[in-house]
Amino acid sequence: MTIIPVDRAGRAGTSGARPVLEARGLTKHFPVRRGARQAMVHAVEDVTLALPDGGITAVVGESGSGKSTLARMLAQLIKPTAGTVLLDGAAAPGRRRYASAVQLVLQDPFSSLNPVHSVRYHLARPLQIHGLNGTGNGHGLDSLVADLLTRVSLTPAEQFAAKYPHELSGGQRQRVAIARALAVQPRVLLADEPVSMLDVSIRLGVLNLLAGLRENEGLTILYVTHDIASARYLADVIAVMYAGEVIESGPAAQVTDQPAHPYTQLLLSAAPDPDRTRPPSLAGRGAPPNLIQPPSGCRFHPRCPHAMQVCAQDRPSAVAVALGHSSACWLHAKDLTSAQSRPLPAAGRGTDSQPAGPDADAAPGPGSGEEKR
């Protein structure tokens, strides 16, 4: 197992580091057919995110929050509708050069490896394609493959190189997928839910592997996850996404200990926590909105327990609440007029979302009127 310094929280201030990869105003709208009409799913809206050199940034969100779409745009697998991706401050270079700097690891190691090819083939391919096969003869390639396997703790490497995906466990497959991504010596690793398909007892091993790669090799990592506790464990910086927007970002421990946005607060109160002594109270029940017609203003306002008039009208921009910690919420805006800050009546919250869960004492939300217990 890789040795990792005990407190990673100390690195939280990496915001000063130069960003390797940057998303500026990234937006993605997917066309869908709705009957005869064409509609747009507003999957990601105006996301700006910088990955500091040698830092681990986590993007946390529920399903449909746009976190994977963001990762795929950063990997240049899909083209953004608007906005730009900057590598080292410059527009992204050509496909192959970009791929040699930025690599993506997918969620499902059962489908991301080709069942008819050996581990050796999976690792040798990118080396050959990117012209990294050392001396050009097979021996150089073999030692590079062995080196990759050792870096992801799959030893003895010769044995693992000869295996096929079906001979490996889920955790081992994910390590092969990570090794494959590392083959081209990328500077940025985009990991899209890399552990959610794995058994609980082996998840930490893969997370620790990622932490070790950053620690020992200075790899910059984007960790996309729905599990805010694992983001807190691994990352320096957490960005929370809701309905396609980044609504809060800041140092990992600070975002989880003092969440500034009502949605982050909701997410944390809903997360499993054995330390809890009494059941949590959820503020903002219900489900994320329909992204074909996202709510006006703040996309969280139909569920928000603190919603004000202004929230239904104008999209909040990110406001700094502490050093390196910002939240896109009108609660943190200063100089709102009294008309703007008037509480929003439940009826005024136009939304397309599913009715919220029941609970009479919950905040008024869409659908909560007809619930009973």
Partner: protein, 348 residues
């Protein structure tokens, strides 16, 4: 202590027959009491679902029950009951909620039809109007407005579909509900809402729940007691708090330290080295020994029996706990109630 509803002892389930059989569940002991929420924790392949299917006799070929007993109440032997008797028990007394509600609901029937179908099959005397009224009542019970009865499964969100599954399970007022990963596919907020509803319904209707989940941190919150399975064997059973504060089995300890905490200082956690065994070739002795940092010679040769600990309030299958070996301090923490500074994460 309240009466036991389901009592399982020495239950063994194999997949396949003869020498090539995979021992999916070995010697399971389990007691579910009236009104209790019993969490069954384990990773994929640990046999937790197989155990539940065996108890309900829903096991499909090539699954075979090879030994053991399972009783419902004082009179019914679940493993020998005939189809007729099972038909009377299923849904009436023991209902099941499956993991993927997407597949469990029929996509071409409205949920109202599916709910009243249960009633029509099991309550033949009920009138059409009464069935409809009861279906609406059931939906509202799980927080869905009754006017949604005409909706089809695809018109409902994942969370609502899972709620419909729970409503269906509760249609006949069962005394036991078996839930196999009921919220695993859902987002955390929806998961939390459904769990809250479930617990409120449990308090109101008094059914017992066998809650199967891989998420031990969630089980600690919702269950009264927890049984932990590993490679087909029950390795520990104790009160939820006792497991969390003072695990006695190295696997429970490892599983608990596989969930990063939401508070407190961030420290490096180790999880459990290695990966779960292949049941076709399970290790000799204690199946956990290759991954166990406390293993000694005996663990490699003899499978540990379930030992009663702490005046019979908990059981554990570990040679470290039989009174002859040295118990490492991690496995000898003071239980809940006693001040315990070493407890994982500490109080917020």
């Amino acid at each position: 202590m309240s009466e036991s509803l389901i009592e399982v002892s020495g239950l063994c389930v194999d997949y396949g027959l003869g020498a090539g059989a995979v021992h999916a569940v070995v010697d399971a002991e389990l007691t579910l009491r009236r009104g209790e929420v019993l969490g069954l924790a384990g990773e994929s392949g640990s046999g937790k679902s197989t155990l539940a299917y065996a108890i309900t006799r829903l096991l499909r070929s090539p699954g075979v029950i090879t030994a053991g007993q399972a009783r419902f109440g004082s009179s019914v032997n679940l493993l020998t009951a005939g189809q007729r008797q099972l038909r009377g028990l299923r849904w009436n007394e023991i209902a099941v909620v499956l993991q993927s509600s997407m597949n469990a609901l029929n996509p071409v029937l409205s949920i109202g039809v599916q709910l009243s179908d249960v009633l029509r099959a099991h309550r033949p005397g009920m009138s059409r109007a009464a069935r409809r009224a009861r279906s609406g009542e059931l939906l509202e019970m799980v927080g869905i407005p009754a006017d949604r009865l005409g909706n089809f499964p695809h018109e409902l969100s994942g969370g609502m579909r899972q709620r419909v599954m729970i409503a269906t399970a509760l249609a006949l007022d069962p005394s036991v509900v078996i839930m196999d990963e009921p919220t695993t596919a859902l987002d955390v907020v929806t998961q939390r809402e459904i769990l809250e509803e479930l617990m409120a319904l449990r308090d109101r209707l008094g059914f017992a729940v066998l809650f199967i989940s891989h998420d031990l941190s969630l089980l600690v919150e919702v269950a009264d007691s927890i049984a932990v399975m590993y490679a087909g064997r029950l390795v520990e059973r104790a009160g939820a708090n006792a497991i969390f504060r003072a695990p006695r089995h190295p696997y429970s300890l490892g599983l608990l330290s596989s969930f990063p905490p939401l508070h407190g200082p961030r420290r490096v956690m180790e999880g459990i080295p290695g990966s779960p065994p292949d049941l076709r070739d399970a290790p000799a002795g204690c199946t956990f020994h290759p991954r166990c940092r406390f293993a000694f010679d005996r663990c490699r040769h003899d499978p540990p029996p379930l030992l009663d600990l702490e005046h019979g309030t908990r059981t554990v299958a570990c040679w470290r706990q039989d009174g002859t070996a040295v118990v490492p301090p991690e496995l000898a923490r003071a239980g809940p109630g006693a001040p315990d500074p070493a407890a994982i994460g500490g109080q917020p």
